[in-house]
């Protein structure tokens, strides 16, 4: 078996481990939701008995106590860590098989992008209890890896002259890391919006299962963590665009030519710049700023998939033979 084939098997293994972890994370969330709903019912009953017949209303409170033992989340964290190990080895082997850095086509971008997302998530969990993010981050990663293995896969190989440059190491790795970071902050901002809606008693989040949102950090904390990650992501993205311009100047003889990839990298940059400004504008911070993160992540995803597959440009490095 060649190194490339071994790498693919390991990536399948990592994807499977992530899928198991995803189920475990979801189970844990469901448990938390049940527990939160049960304690709310209990409080509601107490309230009803003391208030004498008034309608019991689900209390929206942050104090929904987590169940004492969360076995599912333990399984989830260890499976995700195992998956990350397989993922790292699989990625390194891929690079060895191709004789270059393992990020030169869409399959490999996805491989490294999800690697960064999962690694960032697991690293953040050491700093704060953000395990509730697991469902979103691993859900996205399993989807992306499955898509990569099924649709983007190309055998490991050397690259064409246009990619033979040390800028491949710098420009693409930083872009991929930034994408991984944007994935995590997207998860955080989504939860921030959900929790905010829930706290404002949105009728769509009326079901007791949404009580689980009560056990998450406050919207303020979610916003703050999301911002910190986005700030790093934005600086890295700025660097990506600049490094890309320098490389384009070397390879194509112009630093900026409004190639579809350049256009969309610019759009991503402008949307996240708007997010940073919205955050400090009265009336735009909080909910509205969080929407920018969602829009920004949508542009990141389109820049990665849509531009490579749908639009014709100089960045068509998906490596997928045209049908």
């Amino acid at each position: 078996m060649s190194l490339g084939e071994l790498s693919t098997i390991l990536v399948w293994g990592a994807t499977t481990a992530y899928a198991v972890a995803l189920v475990a994370f979801a189970t844990d969330l469901a448990r938390l939701a049940d527990h939160a709903a049960a304690s709310a019912r209990q409080r509601g009953a107490e309230l009803a008995s003391t208030a004498g017949g008034s309608t019991a209303v689900l209390e929206r409170t942050d104090a929904a106590v987590a169940p004492e033992r969360r076995r599912a989340v333990g399984i989830a964290m260890s499976t995700a860590t195992l998956g990350l190990l397989l993922h790292v080895v699989g990625t390194v082997l891929r690079g060895l098989a191709a004789g270059r850095v393992p990020w030169a086509n869409m399959y490999e971008f996805t491989l490294v992008g999800t690697l960064v997302a999962v690694a960032t998530f697991l690293a953040l969990c050491r700093w704060r209890d953000l395990r509730f993010l697991g469902t979103i981050v691993l859900g996205l990663s399993v989807l992306a890896l499955g898509l990569a293995l099924a649709a983007f896969y190309v055998p490991a190989d050397a690259v064409e002259p246009a990619l033979q440059s040390y800028w491949l190491v710098i420009h693409v790795s930083i872009a991929t890391i930034a994408t991984g970071l944007f994935t995590v902050s997207f998860a955080l901002s989504s939860l921030q919006l959900l929790k905010d809606s829930w706290e404002q008693a949105s009728p769509r989040l009326h079901h007791p299962r949404w009580q689980v949102l009560g056990s998450l950090p406050s919207t303020r904390d979610l916003e703050a963590i999301s911002f910190r990650i986005n700030a790093v992501g934005f600086v890295l993205w700025t660097f990506t665009v600049m490094a890309g311009a320098i490389w384009a100047e070397h390879a194509w003889g112009r630093y900026w030519g409004w190639d579809p990839k350049e256009v969309w990298s610019f759009v991503v940059w402008v949307v996240y710049a708007a997010y940073l400004h919205a955050r400090t504008t009265r009336g735009w911070s909080g909910r509205r700023a969080a929407w920018f993160v969602l829009v920004g992540y949508a542009t990141v995803l389109f820049n990665f998939t849509g531009v490579n597959l749908l639009l014709n440009g100089k960045h068509s490095y998906d490596g997928i033979p045209e049908g």
Binding site: D157, M242, T280, T281, G283
Partner: protein, 572 residues
């Protein structure tokens, strides 16, 4: 572009400029004063205020993201003129309207320019006042120590036996850090009417400096790019192996320059293509692996030098860069006319059309000694595979080269002085040589062969198959400046996002001698009542979410506690 809430902060309600501490805090009460009539100047001022407001900057940013998108979906004239022509031909009505509205050259269109120019005006209008405020803040002393320090979320108190003056000195020493010339905190010591000493300190001025640097650097990038547009020049040339070209405007196939370009500024160096080598993978996909053009450059007054131009490795000559942009084959042919005279001899570049280098080319033979002018059109197949379905190339290297040609005769239309595309044959006044059944006569030529042209037009000899390269020479004197401003923008951005901005205050008072129950665990034993106790209160405040704030105050308080320890060590 960043927050406009800048202004001198009062000590008690300190809010760093532009900060919304709590995005989930209650809405601020909007003031709705009754407005007097504005008048022309007032209206202008109002427009300026709006334009430079954060809200409008935000709208413009969102608009910029939106207006940039069509250029990635529709073909753009500067990059893909053929695509634009095809689009207009396929949907004439829509295409014509899109063309009128500038959708085929979005990034030079009036509306796209309007958005980014307004954005930059807004940026300048916002950042210059902030620069003024910041320069003033840089010279100002840190804000006064608030009356009540225990109101701050991060605060601490202690009691020490050190004298207030010692404490104040230790606080300043700790805050300033080891390098006096580069203090971590700016500090200001004061004495209150009650006799208490205070130290007010602030750090993180770099945050705003970085922010301003970032925004000004963006302006710098814009100005540099515009200057580069004025001064740049760019020429493209197709060069066959063994040939030389000179760096003059007329020697380029295409040449374009900014309005401020001076043609006499070109250095007349010459460049000869000695050899071009290409490598491909051996499989049927034939993926390119390496392209290298070995050239000789002769600059005036200098020894000629050898150099290699590769993709990603342009050649620098006299402040310009020469890029390898393409390559192909240029069959070297001799065409004799009906009289047997040599009517044409030379290498004719055929442009590759697929990964296997099936290449199309035109040989125009206007200078015949007798009969009509000749036009030969056809394909070069580097590794030909001829089957019943036709001929095609199966590999890009010249393993079995074959020319597949058809011939036209008549008037090439070259004598009218209208510039013609050398890769296209104008067949308006020409007739094609055909077989009896009316199909075009196609003939194959192998390398080294001579074949008779149909209809007795003459003959064609294929002598050799040199390669050609497409070179692109660019000169943009603004490149260095663009890089400098880009790096400045990146540095400014990182500084402004990651520098913590903190304020810290310490008040040092003297508790009445003999007083009991002073707060703090570090109070000396009761037997020490004869010595006056020094009561220290400290508080710290940060901009936004700042994980290191508690540690910052703790460091200062620990330094004060250390004074106690030192005193205990002293021999009584």
């Amino acid at each position: 572009m960043a927050g406009r809430e800048a202004g001198p902060a009062s000590s008690a309600t300190y809010r760093p400029e532009g900060l919304v501490d709590d995005p989930y805090g209650g809405p601020t009460t909007a003031e709705q004063p009754t407005l007097p009539r504005l008048g022309a100047r007032g209206t202008l001022r109002w427009v300026w205020r709006q334009l430079t407001s954060m809200r409008v900057a935000l709208m413009l940013l969102m608009l910029l993201a939106v207006v940039a998108v069509p250029g990635s979906v529709l073909p753009q004239r500067p990059q893909d003129p053929a695509g634009v022509a095809r689009y207009i031909a396929e949907s004439p009505t829509l295409g014509t309207w899109l063309d009128r509205l500038g959708f085929f050259d979005v990034y030079a269109s009036a509306w796209f320019s309007a958005v980014y120019l307004l954005l930059f005006v807004s940026l300048v209008g916002c950042i210059l006042p902030r620069l003024r405020v910041h320069v003033r803040a840089l010279r100002a002393r840190p804000p006064r120590t608030p009356r009540r320090l225990d109101r701050f979320p991060v605060h601490d108190e202690l009691v020490t036996t050190a004298t207030p003056a010692e404490v104040a000195a230790a606080v300043r020493r700790t805050l300033v850090g080891p390098v006096r010339a580069l203090p971590r905190f700016r500090t200001h010591a004061g004495t209150e009417p009650s006799g208490a000493l205070t130290v007010a300190a602030e750090r993180g001025y770099l945050r705003e400096s970085g922010n301003i640097l970032f925004h000004l650097a963006l302006v710098g990038i814009l100005v540099s790019v515009a200057t580069g547009q004025l001064l740049h020049h760019r020429g493209q040339v197709i060069l066959v192996e063994g040939r030389t070209f000179a760096n003059t405007v007329t020697d380029y196939d295409t040449f374009e320059a900014g309005t401020a370009f001076d043609a006499s500024s070109l250095t007349p160096f010459t460049l000869t293509l000695d050899e071009f080598t290409a490598e491909f993978t051996a499989d049927a996909d034939a993926k390119p692996r390496d392209f290298a053009a070995d050239v000789t450059v002769a600059e005036p007054g200098r020894e000629p030098r050898d150099a290699t131009i590769k993709v990603n490795h342009p050649l620098s000559v006299d402040g310009s860069k020469i890029y390898l942009q393409g390559n192909g084959y240029a069959p070297d042919v001799v065409v004799r006319d009906a009289a047997g005279e040599i009517a044409f001899a030379g290498a004719v570049p055929f442009l590759p059309e697929d990964p296997q280098y099936r290449s199309r080319g035109v040989i125009k033979v206007p200078d015949v000694s007798t009969g009509e002018q000749i036009g030969i059109v056809g394909y070069l197949l580097p590794t030909a595979l001829v089957t019943a379905d036709g001929a095609r190339s199966v590999y890009p290297q010249p393993d079995n080269p074959l020319l597949v040609l058809t011939v036209w005769s008549g008037d090439l239309g070259l004598d009218e002085g209208v510039p013609q595309n050398v890769y296209e044959l104008d067949t308006a006044r020409m007739t094609q040589a055909v077989e009896d059944d009316g199909t075009a006569t196609t003939f194959f030529v192998e390398a080294g062969q001579t074949v008779e042209l149909p209809d007795g037009l003459g003959s064609l000899t294929w002598d050799g198959l040199p390669r050609f390269v497409a070179l692109d020479l660019r000169h943009d004197p603004a490149l260095t400046w663009i890089l400098v401003f880009a790096v400045a923008a990146l540095v400014g951005l990182a500084i402004s996002l990651f520098t913590p901005r903190r304020r810290l205050w310490v008040r040092v008072g003297v508790a009445p001698a003999g007083a009991h129950g002073a707060p703090g665990d570090d109070a000396p034993g009761d037997g020490d009542t004869a010595r006056a106790r020094t009561v220290v209160a400290g508080a710290a405040l940060a901009r936004g979410d700042d994980m290191g704030l508690d540690g910052e105050l703790a460091r200062v308080m620990d330094a004060i506690r250390a004074l106690d320890g030192r005193r205990d060590d002293e021999p009584g």
